[in-house]
Symmetry: C2
Subunit: 190 residues, 2 copies
């Protein structure tokens, strides 16, 4: 047998390059050549690990959601055991907001994929499942309607933060106010 290589390692290496290209120049700049160049490889390598471009895109989408899920998981464990519901929810949705460069890059790619999904039903299905899973989890911590609202609110905040329309302070203030309205029992009313 010849030299053996971990295929998923190579695939994530390529997907990382893809996301760098997508974050810097947009998803429409993602081509086999550009991704290969960004990865310091040739198009042949990319072709070897992804039979077609669509395969590559789909894998990259999974990597992006993997990033956010990993961040969410880390933030949750950092909270220690049995945190207050409000803290838990806040820690989770905070990881979905573009608050630093890493999350900004992921957010850009995620947004690009959202538009990409508008004409690819199978991609849309992946996103749909992820969002609804999150919504259902939130619904165990707060009323169903509030969970639905929260998710939409966070998505919209992410958009406006990404485009620079809202400042980070505004975004966090909006988020905290909404969490207050859900989790605190109509505070400050005599």
């Amino acid at each position: 047998m010849p030299k053996r290589v971990d295929p998923t390692e190579r695939r994530t290496l390529i997907a990382d390059a893809l996301m760098r290209v997508a974050a810097e120049r947009g998803l429409e700049a993602v081509s086999l050549r550009h991704v290969a160049a960004e990865a310091g490889a040739t198009t042949g390598l990319v072709q070897h690990y992804f039979g077609t471009k669509d395969e590559m895109m789909l894998f990259a989408l999974e990597v992006v959601s993997g990033h956010t899920e990993a961040r969410i998981g880390a933030a949750v464990t950092a909270l220690g055991p049995s945190p207050a519901p409000r803290d838990l929810v806040r820690a989770m949705v905070t990881q979905m907001l573009p608050l630093d460069d890493a999350r900004r890059a992921d957010g850009k790619v995620a947004l690009a994929f959202f538009a990409y999904a508008a004409t690819r039903p199978e991609v849309a299905e992946v996103q749909r499942r992820g969002s609804l899973g999150l919504r259902d989890f939130f619904a165990t911590l707060m009323p169903y309607a509030a969970a639905t609202t929260l998710l939409a609110l966070v998505e919209g905040l992410g958009l406006y933060l990404l485009s620079g329309t809202y400042t980070v302070e505004d975004g966090l203030r909006v988020l905290d106010e909404y969490l207050d309205s859900v989790f605190s029992p109509a505070a400050g009313r005599p």
Copy 2:
């Protein structure tokens, strides 16, 4: 002078074709050839009225925002004079949601442009100005923080409605609940 033609009429004709292509096949399928074919014209005509592709895209973006603004204006005048603030706001944001085919198509294009803007600062600036203008107007009808929240919420709802993640009923329920929380004086509390 030779044959004269209304240039803006031709330009909107082309832009309409562009939006049809974008709504059906995604913004990445928007090319001079495709747009020209959809408009029943040649690429030469498109080039004649838009020196470059970017000019065409920018004009189309203005047309999309024009659509929503027109819908908003119509909905507002349909409300008659001096409507209740809640009704006014609801009528306006409802026009930003993809609740029928026309608004769905516009929403798809708007989403595509949002992603497009992520790598084009001058496009992002156009969108930013529009959103902040709307936010400031809403801020004359409700608290500033609530206006900020509402806009983000509507944007997120639009996304989830577009992707089919939320149903129209869910979306409208979320919207109405939020409007209740803003406009009704902590109802149902003795």
